[in-house]
Symmetry: C2
Subunit: 129 residues, 2 copies
């Protein structure tokens, strides 16, 4: 009996998460789409911007996997798209030539600064009741 009660409570919590996730994700997508970005793109851009504020600072792809809620292959393709759009650059890591360094371009940094308030606004709209 107690077990089923706990089960129902978990079920409700799960529904809440599902609902909040769907609404917010959709709202962010809608807010960022005019700028050519999706929610996942922004997540990576934001990670690069906050994790490597120094100019010369760079970030391994490996470091991004695990922090981002994306598979390694999806991340690889996403970075390829960002590079094609001129938002990031990839360069081989000299100390471990298997690795790849990813860094924001000036354009990428500028775009991030531009859309950050939009993302915050979307969050406020759907999460801050």
């Amino acid at each position: 009996m107690a077990a089923t009660t706990a089960g129902v409570r978990l079920e409700e919590r799960w529904r809440d998460i599902l609902s909040a996730h769907a609404r917010t994700m959709c709202e962010i997508d809608r807010a960022l789409h005019p700028h050519g970005l999706g929610a996942s793109d922004f997540e990576v851009l934001d990670m690069l911007a906050t994790a490597a504020p120094e100019e010369g600072e760079q970030c391994r792809v490996q470091n991004l996997v695990g922090r981002v809620h994306l598979s390694q292959s999806a991340l690889s393709r996403l970075i390829a798209r960002l590079e094609k759009d001129g938002l990031v650059t990839r360069s081989v890591c000299v100390e471990d030539r298997r690795g790849v360094w990813v860094s924001l371009t000036d354009k990428g940094r500028a775009l991030h600064a531009e859309v950050l308030p939009l993302q915050r606004a979307a969050l406020a709209r759907t999460l801050g009741e």
Copy 2:
């Protein structure tokens, strides 16, 4: 200042939701995959099972859209898959021939009963700390 603080708090909340969603979704998928179901499939199955416990009770596709976090087209295809697997049946609604009734088959009901505890267990593993 207060605005940015609130922004950071929202950001953290969003990260938590993202993380919980990804972990739980993955865990449910993993638990249900051996039975040929994904998380979305279960969501629809569960909805049909709980919304129409009576034998003759049926549910319009229209009623499912909005309750499920899926687009109308995705739901249509998902139901087609479930029907192909013999878990649900579709029949035209006699009182509004645009509509379609969806109902669980015995096999669908049995499968739902079989995997429900697995889903609950997955929820408990990832949400109930």
